[in-house]
Symmetry: C2
Subunit: 258 residues, 2 copies
């Protein structure tokens, strides 16, 4: 899973602010910045980073996401960090005794997209590595987000939590087709090209006695055609298969067959 | 985003095999094991780990996912690692010149769930940190998975790639409601409780001259009721608001108001 920076492609920037409340390790802040930029998020806000700021360990762990680190803003309190936002989400795994609205990351991403598209300033808060957000911070959020995970082992590190929220944000606005057949220089074969191949193959098989009886031939033909059709053959592959069939037939001839 | 191991909750185990092909760093293997267990995946297979096996750095980075590390199996070749599987997915960010089917992680997860539910043995392959999977490995997969991410900065570390695939696997089988209001010991207020509060408030406001004219009263009432209704009040909150109103009214009286 590599590839890295690609300066020839336009970066997708903006999106909701990410607010890290009292993060402890610079490495984690850097890894969060990297995960943010992976997902097109660039507005990093940090409340009271334990080890001060700037932090060279954050730059090192950002693996090239310097843009995010260099533009990070530092705040003394969570309230100041979210002051200009109209809509705040907060991540938590704890069930609290507070009355608040919980959603999954997927639903949160959809709601963030709606609000962001409507011109609202949106943010999502993450708590310190060990303790998570305290109730006073959660009260600054209108919606809490909990990631459904293995209930017996649900601990995520900070950057992984940021990645999952950012990933859902990105997917909610992404236009990548769900499925596609990568065909490179070629194209999907037309029905005519496929049927032409099938008919040639079947005619050759007729001569070999492959079809054990005329009664069984139709179902045997269907079985073969269905199997080949699942290949979703390209034009190039149909030509290759013609070549394969020719080679098999000629090989047989060389050995002195019919 | 904390919480960690919770031995009182039953772990969700099984799922597709995760095949790491020639991973370099033990730390990364450990982080992959942690991400796997987060998502209920436990079948880890490693092809030629660069630094040998067992690797204490993998155990340290697994942060408690020892179950996955201890049961990991080591193979000499990718072909051996996938030999018993019926369906293999492979992650890649590169566009290759091969003709293969690409899907998003979400679609891959749905397809893995379908196949797994049908009793098939399923796996997903991840390449070495720097280079990704080579074409000969990709040929062992029937479906390639690419994560849609910021095209200018799409590099994920190995554990993050494993986490995103595992996350989608988990979500595809998860029954968590998309949204819910956590109400703790209380319950949502009934319409009767809410309307009773509104009518009391409006009657009190009538006495204060809050409604500037009889003509404007209906729209002012609607504005207030709509705002309170967006709170999705619980029964406890309705009682609190009654108390607030009483306090405000009595405070006024103590100052000698009407």
């Amino acid at each position: 899973m590599t590839s890295g920076q690609n300066p020839t492609r336009e970066s997708i920037l903006g999106g909701p602010a990410v607010i890290l409340v009292q993060p402890q390790l610079g490495e984690n802040i850097g890894a969060c910045a990297r995960a943010m930029l992976n997902c097109g998020l660039t507005d990093l806000r940090i409340v009271k980073p334990r080890d001060g700021w700037p932090n060279p360990k954050a730059n090192a762990a950002a693996s090239g996401a310097d843009l995010v680190i260099d533009n990070a803003r530092i705040f003394e309190t969570t309230a100041e960090a979210v002051a200009d936002l109209e809509s705040v989400f907060a991540t938590t795994v704890r069930t609290r005794d507070m009355i608040q609205r919980f959603v999954t990351p997927r639903v949160a991403a959809g709601e963030m997209r709606e609000r962001y598209a409507a011109g609202q300033k949106v943010g999502v808060m993450f708590g310190p590595e060990r303790t998570g957000l305290v109730n006073d911070d959660l009260t600054l959020a209108q919606t809490l987000v909990t990631v459904p995970l293995n209930p017996a082992f649900s601990s995520l590190n900070l950057a992984q939590a940021v990645l999952l929220i950012g990933y859902e944000w990105f997917q909610a606005g992404d236009r990548t087709p769900d499925r596609f057949l990568h065909t490179g220089q070629t194209r999907p074969a037309t029905m005519a090209e496929r049927v032409n191949f099938f008919e040639r193959l079947e005619a050759l098989l007729d001569r070999t006695g492959f079809f054990t009886s005329e009664a069984k031939r139709p179902s045997m033909v269907r079985t073969l055609r269905n199997a080949f059709e699942r290949m979703e053959m390209t034009e190039q592959e149909v030509r290759s298969l013609h070549g394969v069939v020719t080679a098999l037939v000629e090989g047989d001839r060389r050995k002195g067959g019919s």
